[in-house]
């Protein structure tokens, strides 16, 4: 991890409510799929703390993009940035998705703001020779992000929407094939992650879940972002009950956490 001053290149609006910031660094940036950055979104009264974002796309070593939905003051400030503005970032942070040693058949699931880390994941899996089925969920057609971009990498993409306005109508996990998947990677709303976890633990393939939690620091010092461990280490007493999403995560194996 280190601090970066990033130059805003393009600002895109890929779907309703979403913004993609394409940023440029003065040096090559290396980050694993699933890792994230803390972005300092202004210094308004309500944006004193930086905000956490997975990196989304990278088309050159010094170019990185972030994709986010406007939710509150932090994302509102980020959405105000214009070409030529500077942005402070800290990262890469956390533990990304574990990549297989050999080619596998992978299913990658992303719902809403959970889509961004899947682009880098799909790219890495495909480069390693794996077969990638990407399942992309959204509230409605107008809110779909990443599907085209991930398909362009060479992944097979299926879409589900809550209202059926595009693709399957219903939960994304319904689209998971019953057979022929060696590992599941997922990022998105808690309900979806819980379902993937159940499938995996009920004799399904191993699954890796990218979690979110409100964060203050993003690098392990505040203890603000904890998630409950499924099996606390025996030598840490009550302290070991929690893992930090920003440091031990954001990606956890399905059997590691209690959601």
């Amino acid at each position: 991890m280190r601090q970066w001053e990033l130059l805003v290149g393009e600002v895109l609006a890929p779907a309703r409510g979403y913004v993609e910031l394409r940023l440029e660094a003065t040096q090559a940036l290396e980050a694993e799929p699933g890792q994230f950055f803390m972005l300092r979104a202004g210094n308004l009264p309500d944006t004193y703390l930086p905000r956490a974002f997975s990196w989304y796309r990278q088309d050159a070593p010094r170019r990185l993009s972030f994709l986010f939905r406007v939710e509150g003051p932090g994302t509102r400030e980020l959405a105000r940035l214009r070409t030529g503005d500077l942005l402070q970032a800290m990262g890469p942070l956390g533990r990304g998705f574990p990549l297989p040693q050999q080619p596998i058949r992978a299913a990658i699931l992303g719902g809403g703001v959970g889509v961004p880390p899947l682009w880098g994941l799909a790219k890495a899996l495909l480069q390693g020779g794996s077969d990638v089925l990407a399942l992309i969920g959204a509230r409605a057609k107008a809110h779909i992000v990443g599907a085209k971009e991930i398909a362009a990498l060479g992944a097979r993409v299926l879409v589900a929407t809550d209202d059926g306005s595009e693709g399957y109508r219903g939960p994304l996990t319904d689209l998971l094939p019953e057979e022929g998947i060696d590992a599941i990677y997922a990022c998105g709303p808690e309900g979806m992650l819980r379902r993937v976890q159940q499938i995996s633990l009920a004799d399904g393939p191993p699954a890796y879940l990218a979690l979110e939690a409100p964060m203050a620091c993003g690098y392990g010092v505040c203890m603000g972002c904890v998630v409950e461990r499924a099996e606390p280490p025996s030598d840490q007493g009550e302290y070991g009950r929690w893992a930090r999403v920003c440091r031990e995560g954001p990606v956890f194996a399905a059997q590691e956490v209690r959601l």
Partner: protein, 309 residues
């Protein structure tokens, strides 16, 4: 170059900038970014006798000009601290102040005794003012209990004894005087202000613990007021904190009467804030015509101001 070293209450610091307890873990993460030897000192996360789990999430929330936290003093306990964290910190040329927490008097005393005599411990700081644990405020709200606790800790150690003051009390000076009577060598102030955030969608408090501690720039005026009053009216050295982000904030605290300062929440926004503030403070001192922090303190120190007013 201005003289940066300060010494008070039996503590000798290479410069007057420490990191505040609970915002820096035990130094491991920041050490990946810079040499901890650049700092005057590290006040570690609260240490209890046994491991503590802390509160259920959500534990942090945004607040105007700062944040709220309800971590609840999650920590791995004394044994882990002594076997793992302290040896790590000993590798750096910086003072280690051990923040101590307990559910009761004996809990505090056991930790104080446990760290006494351990190489590398520069001082202990009794955290009698955490608003995020059920019994955390017990000792900080009643001068008699505070005095008793401090006196018991005093019996247990010959280390410099610092007591951390709560801003959530009617009369911080009365508490400070009680700690002085109990045998404290210095005070630190302020801990967080008791606050709350409401989630409009859930129609309920954001934090799992309902209330949390407010910190960051928002609380700086309250910190300055309490440091000023403690320094002027208690007569013990004070380590000042609350919303320090820049060298000029640090100098404000020194002029309010602080002998040293600690940087807390600012490290979440800028992980490099502590060494930056060390540098900025040198510049600020020069700019205002001082050769050292001690000189600035003397020029503005509350006793002199009292006499002059």
């Amino acid at each position: 170059m201005t003289g940066q070293a300060v010494s008070f209450a039996g503590l000798s610091l290479k410069n007057p900038v420490l990191t505040a307890s609970g915002t820096f873990g035990y130094g491991r993460e920041a050490a990946e970014l810079y040499d901890l030897g650049l700092l005057g000192g590290v006040m570690v996360k609260g240490v209890s006798r046994e491991p503590w789990p802390g509160n259920a999430p959500l534990r942090v929330a945004r607040a105007p000009g700062g944040m709220l936290n309800a971590i609840g003093l999650q920590n791995p306990g004394l044994e882990h601290f002594l076997s793992t964290d302290l040896p790590f910190l000993r590798r750096y040329d910086t003072a280690v102040v051990v923040n101590v927490v307990g559910h009761d008097l004996q809990g505090f005393v056991d930790v104080v005794r446990g760290v006494t005599g351990q190489a590398g411990v520069g001082a202990v700081e009794l955290n009698i003012s955490c608003p995020n644990v059920a019994d955390g405020l017990l000792f900080s709200q009643d001068p008699a209990s505070a005095r008793k606790l401090v006196a018991a800790a005093r019996q247990a150690t010959d280390l410099p004894l610092v007591v951390k003051m709560s801003p959530n009390v009617t009369d911080p000076v009365a508490l400070g005087l009680a700690c002085k009577e109990g045998g404290a060598d210095a005070l630190s102030a302020i801990n967080t202000l008791l606050g709350m955030a409401i989630d409009l969608r859930r129609r309920a408090p954001v934090l799992g613990n309902r209330t949390g501690g407010l910190s960051g720039p928002a609380v700086k005026p309250v910190g300055l007021r309490i440091v000023f009053d403690l320094a002027a009216q208690v007569g013990l050295p004070v380590i000042g904190m609350g919303g320090i982000e820049t060298g000029s904030d640090a100098l404000e605290y020194i002029m309010a009467g602080a002998s040293a300062v600690a940087v807390g929440t600012a490290v979440f926004r800028d992980p490099l804030a502590p060494p930056r503030i060390v540098r900025e403070l040198v510049d600020e001192l020069e700019q205002h015509g001082f050769e050292s922090a001690a000189q600035a303190w003397a020029a503005a120190n509350p006793a002199a101001k009292e006499a002059a007013s």
